[in-house]
């Protein structure tokens, strides 16, 4: 029976080619526009590390100005050097890493490769295991290297290719910041989307190009990249004074496997801040926060407002297209009143007719969905060309999105078809058999 209905549906679509084409086009446009924006929003709000996102916590403490909150009653989004180093020294979590962004010039030993500037992430050795960073060669540095401020470095695959031609460079020497580093590891491709561990310079920025131990910040007097905010000027001149000031430029993440661990860590933070208050710091009321990955993404509003506005508008667009389809289906099915009356007269039940027309609607929806996905590909290309390369990874359809698109098209077209189908099936069998 289903294949019979399918054949009837094809026939019916061919009989009214313009009306059918209008319906398919309407659904395709609606699906195309909404799939474009849904994809962008989906990728923007994706979980960058689903396997661990609820055990990794971003650490916040309120070290800000007694007179003004950091930002609209909210607490600072970064830490001072003092907090970053103190909390690391306390070593209260299963794994933990303070970090910051910096950068400098790499001078390859190969004279043919020109010196170039690279971004660097200052972090602790736990960074790689906490965030499941894949290694191509070698491994992370150990805790001893962290404490000894060893000049070791982990390269991304791209830098390893640029400087060492892609061979296993573990043990080689690399010159950066005017000093020598020993390569201990080379990463495989790794680009969390969003770049959750530090969203300061754009949530969809590229990951840093090299990784070095955190304390080298102080040792080599490395510059602050990323955002620096201060509420109080440093007490004294020079790099050390600036580092020990109340300026915030550091992030910290901890891995806490259970809720109990989380509660204990919060207790620890509260007692830490109380101690600091005794030392005359932390003039504001105690307010500390641990946010897991998705909470932090929410808090930092990584999904751009414009993307959300476009999503809303395109869903309204889809609604218009569906209303359009309902209208056209009504027109089409009313035009088939005589045929429906005849089918009823020769014994088709309402259910048969309902199913027959639902098949037809679904077929139109599916066609609209397929064309809509093609339009979405065009739309995503358009977004790429409008926003430039940095949205490259935010504008690609994956299998889930293709499936979502088809299901959306099918469900919405069937929903659009319900009323016209119901109306068509309620035509009395006899009414259409008279000449009028």
């Amino acid at each position: 029976m289903f294949s019979y209905y399918l054949r009837l549906a094809f026939k019916s679509i061919r009989r009214n080619p313009i009306l059918s084409a209008l319906m398919v086009a309407a659904i395709a446009l609606g699906i195309g526009s909404s799939m474009t924006t849904i994809t962008v929003n989906y990728l923007m709000s994706a979980n960058p590390i689903p396997e661990k996102s609820d055990v990794l916590y971003h650490v916040q403490v309120d070290s800000w100005d007694p007179h003004n909150a950091f930002n609209d009653d909210d607490i600072p989004n970064q830490l001072t050097w003092t907090e970053a180093t103190n909390l690391m020294a306390a070593n209260k979590a299963m794994r933990q890493t303070a970090m910051a962004k910096t950068g400098g010039i790499i001078e390859p030993s190969d004279q043919d490769v020109k010196p170039f500037e690279a971004s660097a992430r200052l972090a602790f050795g736990d960074f790689f295991s906490m965030f499941n960073v894949p290694f191509l060669f070698g491994s992370s540095w150990d805790a001893e290297a962290d404490q000894n401020r060893s000049q070791v470095i982990v390269l991304t695959k791209r830098i390893n290719e640029q400087v060492f031609g892609g061979v296993n460079s573990v043990g080689e020497t690399l010159s950066m910041f005017g000093t020598n580093f020993r390569v201990v590891g080379v990463l495989d491709d790794w680009q969390p989307m969003p770049k959750f561990y530090d969203v300061n310079n754009g949530a969809f920025d590229e990951s840093e190009e090299v990784f070095i131990p955190f304390f080298l910040k102080e040792e080599l007097e490395l510059p602050n990249w990323g955002n620096t905010n201060c509420w109080k000027s440093p007490e004294g001149e020079g790099f050390k004074a600036f580092l020990r000031s109340e300026c915030i430029n550091f992030q910290m993440w901890v891995e806490l496997p259970t809720q109990n661990d989380k509660a204990e860590y919060l207790d620890f933070l509260n007692s830490y801040v109380s101690e600091q208050k005794d030392l005359g710091r932390f003039p504001r009321p105690i307010q500390n926060r641990l946010s897991n990955v998705m909470e932090w993404m929410e808090d930092q509003e990584v999904v751009a407002d414009d993307a959300q506005i476009m999503l809303w508008l395109s869903l309204m667009f889809l609604l218009v297209c569906l209303l359009n389809t309902i209208g056209l289906l009504l027109a089409k099915f009313t035009g088939k009143a005589a045929e429906i009356g005849l089918r009823r007269a020769v014994g088709a039940s309402k259910g048969d007719l309902f199913f027959q027309h639902l098949v037809e609607t679904a077929l139109i929806g599916l066609l609209g969905g397929v064309f809509g996905l093609l339009l979405a590909l065009v739309g995503l290309e358009g977004i790429k060309s409008l926003y430039g390369e940095f949205v490259r990874d935010l504008a690609a359809l994956d299998f889930t999105m293709v499936l979502v698109g088809l299901v959306l098209a099918l469900v919405s077209s069937i929903a659009a078809g319900l009323y016209p189908t119901w109306r068509a099936c309620n035509i009395a069998p006899a009414s259409q058999l008279k000449s009028q």
Binding site: L22, A26, P115, G178, D305, I309, M316, N324, L330, L386
Partner: protein, 405 residues
């Protein structure tokens, strides 16, 4: 001749199609009016002037890495040489580039003390050539003299004792006084450190185009003793592109202990900074056009269908004395009635969506006149869309009335 009554009563007996069209028109209007408003706001934002000579200016970064690299010497030599290069109008070292997205902000306050609030300001560190290179105009007070310029070390805490501020900044600091009177007044940075305002410039935007105080900027008379630094260069009119090439080659060869990178014209910087806004404008425009076409096609489709369904009725009306014009008017009027329901519903929805956007995304509330304009436009779209089918209806032969099938 107006037959609103019977048309309306006939519509009420055949609601579904009409309601579908009305809702479509309402939502279309909601989207279009809000989109036009967003487009207008964004393009206003994009049209703001930065205050600098955008067409002829560019900048680049110089990062020293060699052991032998001496920032102070290199900067002095570079600037002297750059100012001599053919086609270069003037050149300075600067800490941040207007409208580029990255920069340095501080707070200035009129009373000393941590308990007083400051006014946020973008800081540009320049020497006495800054005003000329950035193509600014001193409208009160005077420019820095060479002896005012000091060297800023990395992580230096103290500030110079003179500054030049923009007119907008002067008005923000002293809202009750004419801006000229700010010259000679003392303001405080870092809560307590005094600085005297020695000059006022007409206009200079901050690096952050999305900042609501984008006109608040100050010039600080300093060179930076940093190994990594930026040069801002203004070329003679029309010579920017050739000068950019020459400057890059010249700097790269003059000192091999540093790298030259990120050379970019201000025009390109503007394009990058406003890329999101211009993309939004293009996307919304596309959406508006497609949406209008879809809605118009929907009206054409349903109207054609309704004309076909009412062929006999139209023939009868013709037989009973309706002229072609009367039939045309009938369908135009019918569409006008449906559109009217749509646009009034649309007016309410437009305001609703705008309230939502204002609350959720901090957009501005829509100006009232957008709504009547939107209504008129949707009325016109409806009338244009229905004209074809209505014309077809008017051409139906009256003799169809006597046909029995």
């Amino acid at each position: 001749m107006l037959e609103i009554g019977p048309i309306f009563r006939a519509l009420m007996r055949n609601k579904v199609g009409a309601i579908l069209i009305a809702i479509q028109i309402a939502i279309t209007m909601t989207i279009i009016v809000n989109a036009v408003f967003i487009i207008y706001e964004r393009s206003q934002k994009m049209q703001r002037e930065s205050g600098i000579d955008e067409a002829n200016s560019f900048y680049l970064s110089s990062a020293g890495f060699a052991e032998s690299f001496n920032a102070k010497v290199s900067i002095k030599e570079d600037l002297a040489a750059l100012r001599q290069l053919p086609g270069v109008a003037n050149a300075i070292q600067i800490n941040a580039i207007p409208i580029s997205g990255g920069g340095w902000s501080m707070g200035l306050q009129t009373q000393a003390g941590a308990e007083y609030d400051g006014v946020g300001v973008a800081v540009y560190m320049v020497d006495e050539h800054g005003v000329d290179t950035l193509d600014l105009e001193i409208i009160a007070g005077e420019n820095f003299s060479p002896s005012d310029i000091g060297w800023r070390e990395t992580a230096q805490r103290l500030w110079p004792d003179k500054i030049i501020i923009t007119k907008s900044m002067a008005e923000a600091l002293f809202p009750d006084d004419p801006f000229e009177t700010a010259v000679g007044k003392t303001v405080f940075i870092n809560d307590t450190e005094p600085m005297v305002i020695t000059g006022i410039i007409d206009k200079l935007q901050a690096p952050w185009v999305g900042w609501d105080r984008v006109e608040n900027a100050m010039l600080s008379p300093e060179n930076l003793n940093y190994e990594s630094t930026r040069y801002f260069i203004r070329a003679e009119p029309g010579q920017r592109d050739s000068v950019m090439k020459n400057v890059e080659e010249f700097l790269a060869e003059s000192n091999t202990g540093r790298i030259i990178r990120s050379m970019r014209s201000i025009e390109e910087t503007r394009e990058r900074s406003y890329r999101g806004d211009s993309a939004m404008i293009k996307i919304l425009t596309t959406v508006m056009i497609i949406l209008t076409v879809v809605t118009a096609l929907g009206i054409v489709g349903l109207a054609s269908f309704s004309v076909n369904r009412r062929k006999k009725q139209i023939g009868t009306r013709r037989a009973l004395g309706a002229s072609q014009g009367a039939i045309l008017r009938y369908f135009m009027l019918e569409n006008f009635l449906i559109s009217s329901v749509g646009v009034f519903l649309g007016a309410a929805l437009t305001v609703g969506l705008n309230v939502l956007l204002v609350n959720q995304f901090d957009l501005d509330p829509i100006d009232w006149f957008y709504i009547p304009i939107g209504m008129v436009i949707l009325w016109i779209v409806g009338q244009l869309a229905v004209f074809g089918p209505a014309k077809k209806a008017a051409n139906i032969a009256p003799a169809i009335a006597t046909r029995t099938v």
